[in-house]
């Protein structure tokens, strides 16, 4: 063969091969044709979700947001890359939240919850006997789609149209798409909430929040890969490493103190346009070393607003808005600004 042609052939073949491989990497995992599944009613699907016990599994949960906020390194919840979740099917779990190059590991072993932070090399032991595991820890709760989706479904049934809208493939598994659409009279920024439910285990695999006028989910929490099956028992044991700082925490007491200091926040309105109104503990904003951070962060994110309810700073995202008034009250919800200010006005 003509060497020029041969060279060209090799170049084209190699480049095509490499580009195909890269293209494969760029295609989001789990995408693909919608699987064919026997039809199921919305009611039955919700029911089965609420009834199903999550089986033993190992998976990776990824959190995506398109909130329209500037990227904020260091803001914990927005910065979470992904978490690996292990569950033994009987209540013990291990969640490893990956945060840059450090990791927070939460191991629930029977009645003991260990939390280990590699960045500070600290291990915190909590006695979990008295509470429900799901309410144990906000981070754990967010990272467990099962809990998050189930809660949402039951709460929103009253004000939403619940339907099954086709199927999807999530983390390689066929799933039903349960869609919650706000009823027309609801004043909300959200268009719909979709929950992908595994066709077999009825485990919610993905939760997506979509807003008006966008096709990409504003918020998405879901498995990127998942394997069902028994997990090695040592995953659910934790021994603090030598040299780590070990503390025993009583989160309940502390939480109660926080709540008392803050004044119990209350919900104004119900359904999709519910607004959470409350008072920010004074020392969060003024004092403590966090002070500069919180105020500085707010200044960067917010715009000043005022009205007959007072004046304050407004933070708008694609899925919701929040107002922090100058006198320390706050209101937030998945609603437009007017609903918030109305809620603030109803003292």
């Amino acid at each position: 063969m003509n060497p020029k042609r041969k060279a060209l052939a090799v170049a084209v073949a190699g480049t095509a091969l490499g580009a195909a491989g890269l293209g494969l990497l760029a295609v989001p995992a789990g995408a693909g044709e919608a699987p064919e599944l026997p039809p199921v009613g919305a009611q039955a699907l919700v029911q089965s979700v609420l009834e199903a016990d999550p089986p033993a599994l190992a998976g990776t949960v990824a959190f995506d947001n398109q909130l329209g906020l500037p990227s904020m390194p260091g803001v914990p919840m927005l910065d979470m890359d992904s978490a690996r979740v292990y569950y033994d099917g009987e209540g013990d779990s291990r969640i490893a939240v990956q945060d840059g190059n450090s990791e927070q590991t939460i191991v629930r072993d029977g009645n003991t919850v260990w939390m280990y932070d590699s960045a500070t090399d600290t291990a915190t032991k909590t006695d979990a006997r008295s509470h429900h595991p799901r309410e144990e820890n906000p981070q754990g709760r967010m990272s467990d789609p099962a809990a998050a989706a189930a809660d949402l479904v039951s709460d929103l049934r009253a004000s939403s149209t619940v339907s099954v809208d086709g199927t999807a493939r999530v983390a390689g598994r066929p799933a039903y798409e349960l869609v919650l659409t706000p009823k027309p009279e609801e004043r909300t920024l959200l268009r719909e909430v979709r929950v992908a439910v595994d066709s077999e285990s009825r485990l919610p695999l993905r939760l997506s929040v979509l807003t008006n006028g966008t096709t990409e989910p504003a918020l998405q929490l879901g498995f990127t890969d998942i394997d069902f099956g028994a997990q090695p028992a040592e995953l659910f044991e934790f021994t603090p490493p030598r040299g780590a700082t070990v503390t025993e925490a009583e989160p309940d007491v502390e939480g109660a103190r926080d709540a008392a200091r803050a004044g119990e926040p209350r919900l104004v309105g119900e359904g999709w346009d519910a607004v959470l109104v409350g008072r920010v503990p004074a020392d969060v904003l003024s004092g403590g070393e966090e002070d500069g951070n919180v105020r500085g962060m707010l200044d960067r994110l917010s715009t000043r607003v005022s009205g007959d309810w007072g004046s304050g700073q407004l933070v708008s995202t694609s899925i919701g808005t929040a107002i922090l008034t100058d006198d320390g009250r706050f209101a937030l919800g998945a609603v437009p600004q007017q609903v918030l200010t109305k809620a603030l006005a109803t003292r």
């Binding site: 060497p3 020029k4 041969k6 060279a7 060209l8 090799v10 170049a11 073949a13 190699g14 480049t15 091969l17 490499g18 580009a19 491989g21 890269l22 494969l24 990497l25 760029a26 990776t60 990227s71 390194p73 260091g74 910065d79 690996r84 490893a96 990956q98 945060d99 840059g100 190059n101 450090s102 990791e103 590991t105 260990w114 280990y116 590699s118 960045a119 500070t120 090399d121 291990a123 990127t224 890969d225 995953l235 934790f238 021994t239 603090p240 490493p241 030598r242 040299g243 780590a244």
Partner: protein, 295 residues
């Protein structure tokens, strides 16, 4: 110039078939050349010193204090974790050097391999022997790969030794807080070194492709340096997230995954596949260029 006419040619028309030097001999000669070069040795020495310097610095500072914020780019928090953890030190050093230093060394070797030889007029010597251009590229790619393994290996090695000297064998703790046995820890470091080698080889392959197009090794170095910087910047732009899976350094941050227990393999496998794709593209382009260019 004495009369040594016995080395004059015996007319041997029979031995006229195509003949070529055995490949292992070429590979050996190439490796001897790479590792006899003072520059290579200096760079390897420097790389070997990095984990030691980090380890000593962390020990001298004593208590690193609570790291601020966590996940701060290239192993920033890893380095903090490396104090008092013999397992983390080699990997933190690798992760840190993978950001810029290691790619540059791979680019240096890739640049010397073709452009440097071309500049010295030495490439001709092998082409006239003759060594076919395909074999030449194979030998060069092998040399770059070997250097990549050595560069990552030497850092891992001094990292482990430094970590063990400072912290002893009991301080082998994964990021997930599990305590590892020494062989387990060694395996993790080996995986990290192997993975870093693969990434470096990909950089080296790209360097070879550029190297095949120029006579100036500095052009290769500058191009790779520019490429790494541009790729790093692109990595930070969220608006371009569709582009990120195509960037070689997309998974360089994920090296810390080997420190987790159990080890999540997804991102590392993805990174390995990405490196393989880069190698396929770069080496095929390098071949196309090398096989048609004038020697």
């Amino acid at each position: 110039m004495t009369e040594t006419l016995e080395s004059a040619p015996p007319p041997s028309p029979a031995a006229d078939g195509p003949s070529r030097a055995p490949l292992p001999r070429l590979l050996r000669a190439e490796l001897r050349w790479i590792f006899r070069r003072p520059r290579t040795l200096v760079v390897l020495g420097l790389l070997a010193a990095i984990p030691v310097i980090i380890g000593v610095a962390l020990t001298l500072v004593d208590s690193p204090g609570p790291p601020d914020g966590g996940g701060d780019g290239d192993g920033g928090s890893l380095v903090a974790t490396a104090a008092g953890n013999a397992l983390v030190l080699p990997i933190a050093a690798l992760a840190m050097a993978l950001g810029l230093l290691l790619p540059l060394t791979a680019a240096m070797v890739g640049g010397d391999a073709l452009a440097g030889e071309q500049a010295h007029g030495t490439l001709r010597g092998w082409l006239l022997a003759p060594v076919s251009r395909g074999r030449l590229l194979f030998v060069k790619a092998f040399g770059v790969a070997t250097f990549a393994v050595c560069a990552a290996g030497v850092m891992a090695l001094t990292g482990i030794v430094t970590g063990l000297v400072i912290n002893g064998t009991d301080a082998l703790v994964s990021l997930s807080g599990t305590t590892l046995t020494f062989p387990e820890a060694l395996l993790k470091v080996a995986i990290a070194a192997g993975w870093v080698s693969l990434q470096l080889w990909a950089v080296g392959a790209v360097a070879l492709a550029i190297s095949a197009c120029t006579e100036h090794p500095m052009v290769v170095l500058a191009s790779v340096l520019g490429g790494v910087v541009v790729f790093s910047v692109l990595q930070f732009l969220d608006a371009l997230d569709w582009l990120h899976p195509f960037l070689l350094n997309a998974s360089w941050q994920d090296l810390a995954d080997v420190l987790r227990d159990p080890m999540p393999g997804g991102a590392l496998a993805e990174g390995a596949l990405r490196a393989a794709c880069y190698i396929a593209i770069a080496l095929s382009l390098a071949y196309a260029r090398l096989s048609t260019k004038d020697g």
